[in-house]
Amino acid sequence: MHSTSSVRAVENALGIVIPDNARIIRNLINAIQYIQDHVIHFYHLHALDWVDVMSALKADPVKTASLAQSISNWYNSSPTHFRAVQNKLKAFVESGQLGLFASGYWGHPAYKLPPEANLMAVAHYLEALDWQKDVIRMQALLGAKNPHPQTYLVGGMSIPVDPNSQNAINAGSLAFMKDIARKSLDFVSQVYIPDLLAVASFYKEWASIGGGVRNYISVGEFQNDNISNTTNCWLPGGFIRNRDLTKLEPVDHMKITEDVARAWYKYGDGDDKAKHPWDGETTPNYTGPKPPYKSLRTDQKYSWVKAIRYDGLPTEVGPLSRMLVAYVAGHTRVREVVDMVLKKLGVGLNALFSTLGRTAARGIETLLIAEMMPNWIDELAGKMKAGDLKIHADDKWDPSKWPKLARGYGFHEAPRGFLGHWVVIMDGVVQNYQCVVPGGWNSSPRDAAGQRGPYEEALIGTPIAYPDKPVEILRTIHSFDPCMACAIHLVDSGHNPIINVKVR
């Protein structure tokens, strides 16, 4: 949700306070984005690291229905349904074209689920595909489209709110959103969470694998007030140092830096000098091997991602960081659900520092947001009822009201983690702009001090049964939900890179 970070950065630079309705609509757009994105991640990007699709062919549909009914009240849990899914899968496999299930490590000994659990998960994989296209219509309603909503505006939003207009958010829109909120909570509470718990119970050893770096950051999200980077958020912000869950440090954006000691860039005053994003430089300097290559020169520079650090420390961002920060902050509902999940799995709080913990935290967060979403819809309804239709603060829209030089930053928790934008505005135009993104924090390479980034550290100690079928690597890397399009820094258009790395 780069739009959110961007408008917040400019609003912060210019001292703009947005109206209530704009804040609530931004919360709702973000909420449905989280819910859809996390469900897609669990079923479509991550589940097949744990679920052996081919094993589902051996399942007994009657037993599968019993299993499903024992963990959930979800309506679509009959033997007939699971048999139909199994037949569909069988036809797929017999056609010789596995399509979206091609190239899996099927039959790998690291897969532990019984055939019935595999069939249940495959059924829900397909069901989630249908569900996600329906629920994201809420973002299309509020944002005019998905992805890339079009209704953002510095100072608020551009979508009108008016109960008496057919061309605005009105009573019909509110009812539509309420319906989607119900569908969201139903699926998350009756399918996603029970599946997550069922799958996790077979993989408890992964609660002690994949922990990685020991520092976690969240800047807080779902604002309760209308000021950019407010600390008054439904999910709180904070920094956890060295896994100390007794203490939360307030986030200071000046402690965020990037160095390029091991990334393919050059800094004017030395690649190992860490820079704050306002002073960011991005001059490409590719020194890697000429493709096709077998191995990177990992003792030198080896990535297009810069080393992002907080107070000099490699730091994890994302759902796990948010849930840990909220837990330490004493967020009542976060504590309840985290404790419930840990109890059901029979593991302690330290189990959160793991591959399984990361995946569980994402599900916990999705449930909490799905529970919360109707409240924001009600809040919007209340404003409309009270006659408050203001959606945009235009008092500083005119550039003649801006200072000659303004610097700002926009904090946002995107589904994958802390997303910050930094802007320097000079004479009414952008002089410098830097995005410091979730995928960058988590996938960052070693820094000038040689400290590994979160992915790298998380892989240390991971067991590998077959080096040519490293499903274990995928489990840990996927648990972070990588978004590499965001992670890579810009290349100055005046400098062409020497080599465009070919992906095999």
């Binding site: 890339h148 191995s295 995107a414």
Partner: protein
Amino acid sequence: MPKIVVDPVTRIEGHLRIEAMVEGGKIVDAWSSGTMWRGIETIVKGRDPREVWLFVSRICGV
């Protein structure tokens, strides 16, 4: 000591390469490499800050 290379890592957004050294059935060292780059931040330089969000949102759909 076998070195595992996963490139590209699939079922993610974008391009990621992982190299890992394995010893005694466990990973003993690992490297994460972003193998693509973007240019959006350059595009917004010199632009009206009120329209920047439209450009930067194209970095990622989530």
